[in-house]
C-alpha cells in the first residue's frame, strides 16, 4: 500500500469547506515531496457524491463513511469513524483544519490511536530529522510549524516514531487547488460499526448559524468595531468605512452583542483577513481576534486604554475615546484631507 497523506474533509450544508480544499492542495505538495499519495476522508450523510470533486481537486483516493446516523457532527461517533478508517489504512500523515470541529475531533482521534498531534499549525512541511540523543535519522517526516506562547514564538515539532503524524492546520493560509476534471482516483466506501453508547452520548438540540454574505477576504480597507464601540459607535465605524470605501469588520464580542451580523466577524471563529489597512476601533486585541487580522499590511488601532494589547500589533495607535476621535477623524477626512491623497 502506498504511503499517504490523509486529509479529513469537513462538509457544511452538502458543500466541501474551502479550508478542506486548501488542505488537499497542501497535502498534494507534501505528498510530491515525500513520494506519497493524497487521501481524503469524508464522514457524514449524503457525502458520497463529493468524492469525485475531491479527486478533481487533487486526491488520489477518497474514503467515504456515509451513514444516516452521521448526518450531524457529533464527537464520539465521528471519532469512531475516523479512527476506524485511519486504523485500517495506516496513513503516514493525517491533517485536519484547525476549526472548532477539527480542534476537538483531531486530538480525540490522536489519543485513541495513541499518537502525537500538533495544534493550529501555520505551516507543515516534509523533511528529515536527526534525533540528537540517538543519532538516528528520520527521512521524509512531517514538520509541524506553529506559533506558541500566545503567538510570540514559533516552534517546529516532529513526531518521529508514532504513526500517523497528526496536525490541525489553520484555515485561510493556502490557495485552493485548481479543479482538474481529467484526474482520476479511487473511491473506498466504509461501513463503520457505530455503537449505541457513543451515538447516545451527545444529542444536538439546536443549531444556530448565520450564513456568510460579506467577503472580507478581498477587502482593501476594513474598519472593525469591538465591544468598546457599542451600537452607537458602530454607526461611526460604518460611516468611516463608507467614507474610505472599505468594509465593516467586527470582534466576536460585538457580534455576540448583536450590533452586527456574524459575516463581519474577524478572528479565529470568523474570517481571516489581509487588507492593506485594518482599523480596529474599541477592540482590545485578544489572541483570537489577532489571528484573524495580523497579516494586514497596516494596522491602525483606536482605543482608550493605552495598555490594550491591540497596540502591540499596531503600526499607528490613537489612544483616546472613540466617540471623540472618530467624529473628529471623519470630519477632517471629509474636509478632503485624506492623507497622501490630493
Amino acid at each position: 500500500m502506498a504511503r499517504t497523506v490523509l486529509v479529513y474533509v469537513e462538509v457544511s450544508d452538502g458543500k466541501i469547506e474551502d479550508h478542506s480544499l486548501e488542505l488537499i492542495g497542501k497535502a498534494r505538495e507534501l505528498a510530491t515531496k515525500g513520494g506519497m499519495d493524497v487521501g481524503a476522508l469524508v464522514v457524514g450523510h449524503g457525502v458520497r457524491e463529493l468524492a469525485r470533486e475531491l479527486i478533481y481537486r487533487g486526491a488520489d483516493e477518497v474514503h467515504v463513511v456515509d451513514d444516516p446516523r452521521l448526518g450531524t457532527y457529533r464527537l464520539l461517533p465521528y471519532t469512531k469513524a475516523v479512527a476506524h478508517v485511519v486504523g485500517a489504512t495506516s496513513p503516514e500523515v493525517v491533517l485536519f483544519s484547525a476549526t472548532v470541529v477539527g480542534r476537538e475531533l483531531a486530538p480525540r482521534v490522536a489519543a485513541r490511536l495513541r499518537t502525537g498531534i500538533t495544534a493550529d499549525c501555520t505551516d507543515v512541511d516534509i523533511g528529515s530529522w536527526t534525533d540528537p540523543l540517538s543519532g538516528r535519522v528520520y527521512e521524509n517526516i512531517l514538520y509541524q510549524i506553529r506559533p506558541t506562547f500566545g503567538g510570540e514564538i514559533m516552534a517546529a515539532i516532529v513526531t518521529p516514531q508514532h504513526r500517523p503524524q497528526m496536525a490541525t492546520v489553520r484555515p485561510g493560509l493556502f490557495p485552493i487547488p485548481q479543479r482538474d476534471e481529467t484526474r482520476s482516483g479511487r473511491v473506498v466506501e466504509w461501513s463503520v460499526e457505530l455503537d449505541e453508547d457513543s451515538l447516545d452520548s451527545i444529542e444536538v438540540l439546536e443549531v444556530r448559524r448565520e450564513m456568510r454574505k460579506v467577503d472580507l477576504k478581498s477587502a482593501k480597507i476594513i474598519v472593525s468595531g469591538g465591544r468598546g464601540a457599542g451600537p452607537k459607535g458602530f454607526e461611526l465605524v460604518r460611516e468611516l468605512a463608507k467614507l474610505l470605501g472599505g468594509e465593516v469588520g467586527a470582534s466576536r464580542a460585538a457580534v455576540d452583542a448583536g450590533w452586527i451580523s456574524y459575516d463581519h466577524q474577524v478572528g479565529l471563529t470568523g474570517q481571516t483577513v489581509k487588507p492593506d489597512i485594518y482599523i480596529a476601533v474599541g477592540i482590545s486585541g485578544a489572541v483570537q481576534h489577532i489571528v484573524g487580522m495580523k497579516d494586514s499590511k497596516i494596522v491602525i488601532a483606536i482605543n482608550k486604554d493605552p495598555e490594550a494589547p491591540i497596540f502591540r500589533v499596531a503600526d499607528y495607535g490613537i489612544v483616546g475615546d472613540l466617540f471623540v476621535v472618530l467624529p473628529k477623524l471623519i470630519e477632517k477626512l471629509k474636509q478632503g484631507r485624506l492623507p497622501g491623497g490630493s
Partner: protein, 271 residues
C-alpha cells in the same frame, strides 16, 4: 443533585512576561513567575457557579513542578475547595498525550477519594502551549464524552448536562451524557476577584502533592518517554509593526498628529 467537579488548572509562565531563551534555544522558565493559566479562571468560575447552583465539591487538579503551588493559591481563594498537584520529575517533558494520560489518572485518584466525578472542566487552551488538546484527550483516556468551546453550561439533570457551544457563525446546543469533560471558552464567565477574606480563608485549604507512584500511572507513558512529539526548534517572530502611538488631551491635535504621520509615511487612507 450535588456535583463532584474536577477543574484542571495549568500553572504557566506569566503571559505578560517576555519569553526568554537560553543560549541553546530552549525556553528559560526558571526566572519567570508562575500564575494560573488565565483561560482556566473562566473554567474555575464555571465550576464554582455550578457548585453554587447544584451543591457539591470543586477539586482543582494540576500537573506542574512543586513551586507551582503558589500559583494555585489564587484559585483556591476564588473558592475551589482543594487542590491536587501532580508533581514528579518523571513527568517532565510530557506532551499533550502524556499530560492528558497523567491528568486522567489524577481524576481517577480523586474519584477514589471523593466518589464519582460528574464533570471535568478545563480551559479552552493554555497560554503557553495553546493547543486545546487536553480536554478532548482526557475525555478519551477516561472514555467519556468531551465538548470543546463551551460557552455556557445551561443545565445539569438526570445524568446529562446541557451546554451552549461556540461554532463558526453561531452556537449549538448540546445534551451530553455525564460524566463529561467540558472545555470552557472564556466568553461568558467573568472570573470572580477574591476578597481579602477569601484569600485568608484559602490559606487553610489543602494542596495535596502526589507523584507518579501515588496515582498509579505507567511511567513509560509519561514524560519524554511517553511523548510522541518532539519540539525541534523554537524562534521568536519579529512583529514588524511601526508602533507609532499617539496621545493628546486635545482631540484636534491628536487626530492631526496621526494624519500628519500617515502623510509623512505616504499612506493613503482611502481605497
Amino acid at each position: 443533585m450535588p456535583l463532584n467537579i474536577v477543574v484542571l488548572v495549568k500553572p504557566v509562565v506569566d503571559p505578560k512576561a517576555v519569553v526568554r531563551f537560553r543560549p541553546d534555544g530552549t525556553i528559560d522558565r526558571s526566572a519567570a513567575k508562575l500564575v494560573a493559566n488565565p483561560y482556566d479562571k473562566y473554567a474555575v468560575e464555571a465550576a464554582l457557579q455550578l457548585r453554587e447552583r447544584y451543591g457539591g465539591r470543586v477539586v482543582g487538579l494540576s500537573m506542574a513542578p512543586p513551586q507551582a503551588a503558589d500559583a494555585l493559591r489564587e484559585v483556591l481563594a476564588m473558592g475551589v475547595d482543594e487542590f491536587v498537584l501532580l508533581s514528579d520529575p518523571r513527568l517532565a517533558g510530557s506532551d499533550t498525550l502524556a499530560t492528558s494520560y497523567a491528568l486522567s489518572a489524577g481524576v481517577r485518584m480523586i474519584e477514589r477519594k471523593l466518589g464519582k466525578v460528574d464533570l471535568v472542566v478545563c480551559g479552552i487552551e493554555s497560554s503557553d502551549s495553546n493547543t486545546g488538546h487536553i480536554g478532548p484527550e482526557v475525555g478519551e483516556w477516561l472514555g467519556i464524552p468531551s465538548v470543546s468551546y463551551v460557552d455556557t453550561v445551561l443545565d445539569v439533570s438526570e445524568g446529562y448536562v446541557v451546554v451552549k457551544r461556540l461554532i463558526e457563525g453561531g452556537y449549538m446546543k448540546l445534551r451530553v451524557r455525564l460524566p463529561a469533560v467540558l472545555s470552557i471558552a472564556g466568553t461568558s464567565y467573568q472570573p470572580r476577584i477574591p476578597t481579602l477574606r477569601d484569600v485568608l480563608a484559602s490559606r487553610r485549604k489543602q494542596i495535596t502533592v502526589v507523584g507518579v507512584d501515588d496515582i498509579g500511572v505507567d511511567p513509560s507513558l509519561v514524560g519524554l518517554a511517553g511523548s510522541p512529539t518532539r519540539v525541534v526548534r523554537m524562534w521568536r517572530i519579529e512583529i514588524k509593526r511601526k508602533s507609532k502611538i499617539f496621545t493628546d488631551t486635545d482631540v484636534d491635535a491628536l487626530v492631526e498628529k496621526f494624519l500628519e504621520e500617515l502623510r509623512k509615511d505616504g499612506i493613503t487612507l482611502s481605497r
